[in-house]
Symmetry: C2
Subunit: 178 residues, 2 copies
Amino acid sequence: MIDIYTFIEAVWLMWPAYGANGLCMLAKGKRRVDFGKEFRGKPLFGEGKTWEGFALGVFVAVLVASFQMFAFEFLPWDLSPVPLDIIPMSPFLGFVIGLGAMLGDLGGSFIKRRIGIPRGKPAPLLDQLDFIIGMFVFLWFVIPLKWEWVVILLILTPAVHLTANVIAYLVKLKSVPY
Amino acid sequence: MIDIYTFIEAVWLMWPAYGANGLCMLAKGKRRVDFGKEFRGKPLFGEGKTWEGFALGVFVAVLVASFQMFAFEFLPWDLSPVPLDIIPMSPFLGFVIGLGAMLGDLGGSFIKRRIGIPRGKPAPLLDQLDFIIGMFVFLWFVIPLKWEWVVILLILTPAVHLTANVIAYLVKLKSVPY
């Protein structure tokens, strides 16, 4: 059953991954995760995936999860008429989410390179969902998941991504609205 | 809970959509769904989407669902130790599934054209999931869905697609393994 309550539970989970995915490019790293290696004549992951970015992503996820851990008791959970199934955040869970998100992102780049999509060229759905899929694969091992959370974040993430990019395009931060 | 039972229920649902998606290209149609119209300088859907293909896809889905309706009573459902939640198939449900799958496929092409991916160029995940998403959006209105079915088919479909293409590549039916 997808309702406002499972929606709030899912959104609570997504922040460390969104932080990691959104901020990792600020690292402007140079050390390629694939060390410049190729696979059948194409880069393994490409120039866009660096160790600095990977580390920053995981670090941001740990930070965001720690912040959520401290914020938890100050949030107005008692506004909800039903008990919410809010996953307790911790630096460890942030690390798991960040690692999953960054490895999912690498997986997405791996797939794009294999089928010949160059760095920076869009792959709709794959680009927006790789880190969410990676996050859920990793979370799978450490916490009980609701299928509703998976469906909610798989739908919500491309919508949020598109909205953010259209806004960035309208205020001329981006040259294309996607 | 995803188990062998929800898996069987999900697989039962997918056949009309898989049939529509897999066979619609046999129409080798000429009449473009977009009538050659463009949107901001790019084709609305492109040459790959024809009315003949659309109609064949819906027709195949109706046929497959009708076949499932007749086959239902001969299938060994009593092998299952738990009662299965098998959706009763009908020509009408096949029509709904086929229409959803074909419109989802059109939606995928629309997105690819908007971001400048030409006809035939791959968009991983989007290419494999557009018709499944379309199917679920339409099914939503006519039958009660389990979230497990959505998650199962979203995972299963890209895996089946990749497996089929790797096999087609190995037996030299395709020039690329995706």
